[in-house]
């Protein structure tokens, strides 16, 4: 009986390995990293019954869910829940959308995500503010949702250029802080809030902070630490103020967050024109200390020459925190870091140029955006100017501030 030569066996083995590898590559599905790959403009397709779509547009001011099928890269998720979202960005023409994969099918997920946000970008003529801002937060070590651009089609009709935004939820917390069992609140904008003490009743803070986890817990459980935070914030700044407030908020992280927003000339953030806005408040499951998580940065790049202390005295917490020299110094340090990071190798301008070019075609085809292409190009040019000039302006402001002390 003839036996196979060792060389022949080796060849067959290599062939088998190559075949199995090829099958593996061919059958491996896309991952979450593929979804948030930012070098391409993704395509997202939604199928919504025409009657539901009409009602969704008619009732875009409400958080009413409608059933839909979601498709990305051939991956189809059936029976997802879709609703209109946003505050100032709500639009019937170009719908801002939230996709809940488990709305109608308990436990259903897409690449491990329970939900996704499709940001319609209607408040940003350049369409890249949010994306660039989140990149800066992330580069400075702050937890920030991942974002990529996508062309969204509803019933095969192009709805426009969107940002796919990773929602701030339990999954996000697990990724950025390593635990998802804590307490998460979204700033709920009903009226301006500057950090005032709202009194003894913890439920008073429900109008300011909407729970996104532990929704069924009692108000006393959810809001007692928040009430304590703003009670202590509003006490006189004395030797124990810092110790007491630090029990309820990470002051270093808070100051860092505000400094990045200030560098970006955020008009609608912690020191926004209408009080504290566009952030999440997170508290771990055991301790009472809160920290901020960035959200919705479509009003950044407001002005190249906005002061590094603009509206700093309006916010109760921030104005008191800056009374401490180390926190003030941290604030200025972070501003400096932002400026250096943005200017180094023209990083900030490079990002703006890269992203604007990436979405140029999709943006031109977007007939539902509220600004024309001329306005978009003009605004991108302004952003580039901001990226070139803002670092120097901020560094000058920081130097002046340090000199004053």
């Amino acid at each position: 009986m003839r036996t196979l030569a060792p060389r022949c066996v080796m060849r067959l083995a290599l062939l088998a390995i190559a075949w199995i590898s090829a099958i593996g590559v061919a059958t491996a599905g896309p991952t979450l990293d593929d979804l948030f790959a930012d070098s391409v403009v993704h395509d997202v397709r939604l199928s919504i019954n025409e009657r539901d779509l009409r009602e969704l547009r008619d009732r875009y001011r409400e958080n009413v869910y409608f059933p839909a099928d979601f498709e990305w890269r051939g991956e189809r998720v059936r029976n997802v829940g879709v609703r209109s979202r946003g505050l100032a960005s709500r639009s019937a023409t170009k719908l801002g959308l939230r996709i809940d994969f488990n709305r109608y099918s308990t436990g259903q997920r897409f690449l491990g995500l329970a939900s996704l946000v499709l940001d319609n970008l209607v408040t940003d003529p350049a369409l890249v503010r949010e994306r660039v801002s989140m990149r800066l937060f992330a580069r400075l070590g702050q937890p920030a949702p991942r974002e990529v651009f996508a062309r969204v089609f509803i019933n095969d009709v192009y709805e426009g250029i969107y940002a796919i935004v990773e929602p701030v939820d339990g999954d996000f917390l697990a990724r950025v802080v390593g635990q998802k069992s804590g307490y998460l609140f979204e700033r709920h904008f009903l009226q301006p809030y500057y950090g005032e003490d709202l009194g003894e009743d913890p439920a008073a803070y429900r109008t300011v902070f909407e729970p996104r986890t532990h929704e069924l817990d009692a108000d006393s459980v959810l809001y007692a630490p928040i009430r304590e935070l703003f009670y202590e914030v509003n006490q006189s700044v004395d030797t124990v103020w810092r110790e007491r407030v630090s029990r309820y908020v990470d002051l270093q992280q808070f100051v860092t967050h505000v400094a990045i927003e200030t560098f970006l000339s955020e008009a609608d953030g912690i020191l926004g024109f209408a009080g504290m806005a566009n952030f999440y408040l997170y508290r771990g499951p055991v301790h009472d200390q809160h920290r901020l998580i960035v959200w919705d940065k479509d009003r950044t790049f407001a002005a190249i020459d906005s002061s590094i202390l603009q509206r700093a005295d309006e916010n109760r917490l921030f104005s008191r925190a800056l009374a401490f020299s180390d926190l003030r110094s941290l604030y200025l340090d972070v501003l400096e870091r932002c400026a250096h990071l943005a200017a180094a190798d023209g990083w900030l301008e490079g990002e703006i140029v890269r992203l604007a070019a990436l979405i140029d075609g999709a943006a031109r085809e977007d007939r539902r955006k509220p600004y024309d292409d001329e306005a978009r190009v003009r605004d991108v040019e302004f952003l580039r100017q901001f990226a070139r000039q803002r670092p120097a302006f901020v560094l000058h402001g920081v130097a002046q501030e340090r000199g004053r002390r």
Binding site: S47, I48, N49, E50, D69, R78, N79, S105
Partner: protein, 421 residues
């Protein structure tokens, strides 16, 4: 409890004068004269050409259930029904009935005229029960349990305005009913705006008693099949999953459009002191054009069955006459006593799974819910007008293994005092 005791006392006191009028000798009608008598009901009769019965029914219910008490605002006693009416006959060929509740948002019950030229061909018009469902078309005063089965209450049609041909053929062995109705009955009618029910409805029922003329215990055996067909406008259906005392376990938040189909089979047998009854009902709502991309979806299905049995322990000749005790209370006897048991199941949701189950209003495969209930009952008929009933119901809703739908176990106790003349 004080209120309940008071009602019982009133009933017992009322039983004494009622008993005094028991069994008057029915005198033959005399021509040209008005005759007044009280047999089953008080009635007046003129010259054999006009007869009018006066009817009234009072039901007081006491309910105790963890689920129900939450809905009763702390008062477990409720006067469930105060109904009055007249019924009668004109000239031997026309029958009529008019009934209404004294306090109800929809007060009118049966309001109809029945023209009966022959036993085999009769024409009924007005508002009455659509001929679907053995239990549903049985008067509430003749039920073996305090409440109808959940299957009957949720899936059978109920009353509506319409016209019906009916009769009995082949020496009463065969019965038929077929009619057209404005809608598909008050059981399916939406209580709130935004829900839809069936439009114009065709309904029919065929019953057969194959051994009617035999002298055996089988002579009472009856089989029946029934159907309804209705047009169904676009919307969420009003047919929903509710427990015996109204706890919601499936809200039917899904789009339907097209046709509603009900199909049912029924069987009843009353050999001596025992009785047996069962029904199977299937309701199907089309979902035409309701898919995400406008495609047709599988019909929404609701189906269920019940099996019930009773035993006349004492006091009546057989199960059919349990409400007419041989020796009523205060007339040398104690009335009659009947025990009953019923097992039932109601399932709402998709039958075939061509897609992942979902609660989406446009899901191909609807994640529904189910209930299985067992009812134990006892009824004490003091005389032919007064009955005291007690029921113990165990309901098992949903399954713990299925997430996304409610699941719970409920024990409920019901108690009813009924005065019916």
């Amino acid at each position: 409890m004080t209120r309940t005791a008071a009602v019982i006392a009133v009933v017992l006191v009322a039983a004494i004068p009622a008993a005094a009028q028991q069994s008057p000798e029915a005198a033959p009608p005399r021509k040209g004269e008005w005759n007044v008598r009280w047999d089953d009901h008080p009635e007046v009769e003129w010259s054999g050409r006009l007869r009018v019965e006066f009817r009234a029914r009072l039901q007081g219910d006491s309910r105790a259930s963890r689920a129900a008490v939450e809905r009763l605002d702390g008062d477990p006693f409720d006067i469930g029904r105060r109904r009055v009416g007249i019924a009668g006959e004109i000239g031997g060929m026309v029958e009529f009935q008019i009934e209404r509740e004294l306090e109800d948002s929809v007060p009118w019950r049966d309001v109809y005229v029945n023209y009966r030229p022959t036993r085999g061909l009769q024409l009924q018009a007005g508002q009455f029960k659509i001929p679907f469902g053995l239990e549903e078309t049985t008067s509430s005063s003749n039920l073996d349990f305090i409440y109808r089965s959940i299957v009957s209450t949720r899936l059978a049609a109920g009353r509506d305005r319409g016209t019906m041909l009916h009769g009995r053929l082949a020496s009463r062995t065969l019965g038929y009913e077929i009619g057209v109705f404005a809608h598909d009955g008050d059981n399916a009618r939406p209580k709130h705006a935004g829900r839809v029910s069936g439009g114009r409805t065709l309904a029919g029922r065929l019953t057969v008693e194959p051994f009617r003329h035999s002298k055996s215990a089988w002579s009472d055996l009856q089989f029946g099949v029934a159907f309804t067909r209705s047009s169904l406008p676009e919307g969420f259906p009003a047919v929903r999953g509710r427990s015996a005392l109204g706890v919601s376990f499936f809200d039917s938040d899904l789009w339907v459009k097209g046709m509603r189909r009900r199909d049912g089979i029924q069987v009843r047998w009353r050999p001596g002191p025992f009785s047996f009854a069962s029904e199977v009902i299937r309701l199907s709502d089309d979902r035409r054009g309701q898919g995400r991309s406008g495609t047709d979806l599988q019909p929404f299905l609701a189906r269920g069955w019940y099996v019930s049995g009773t035993w006349v322990v004492a006091g009546a000749a057989d199960a059919a006459s349990v409400a007419r005790p041989v020796r009523p209370l205060f007339q040398g006897g104690f009335g009659s006593l009947q025990l009953a048991v019923r097992r039932e199941r109601l399932v709402l949701g998709s039958l075939t799974l061509t897609d992942a189950l979902s609660t989406s209003p446009r899901a191909e495969a609807v994640l529904g819910n189910s209930e299985t209930a067992t009812t134990l009952g006892a009824a004490w008929h003091l005389n032919r007008w007064i009955a005291i009933e007690g029921n113990l119901i165990h309901e098992a809703i949903g399954a713990p293994s299925v997430t996304g739908t409610p699941h719970l176990r409920i024990w409920s106790r019901l108690f009813r005092v009924q005065v019916s003349i």
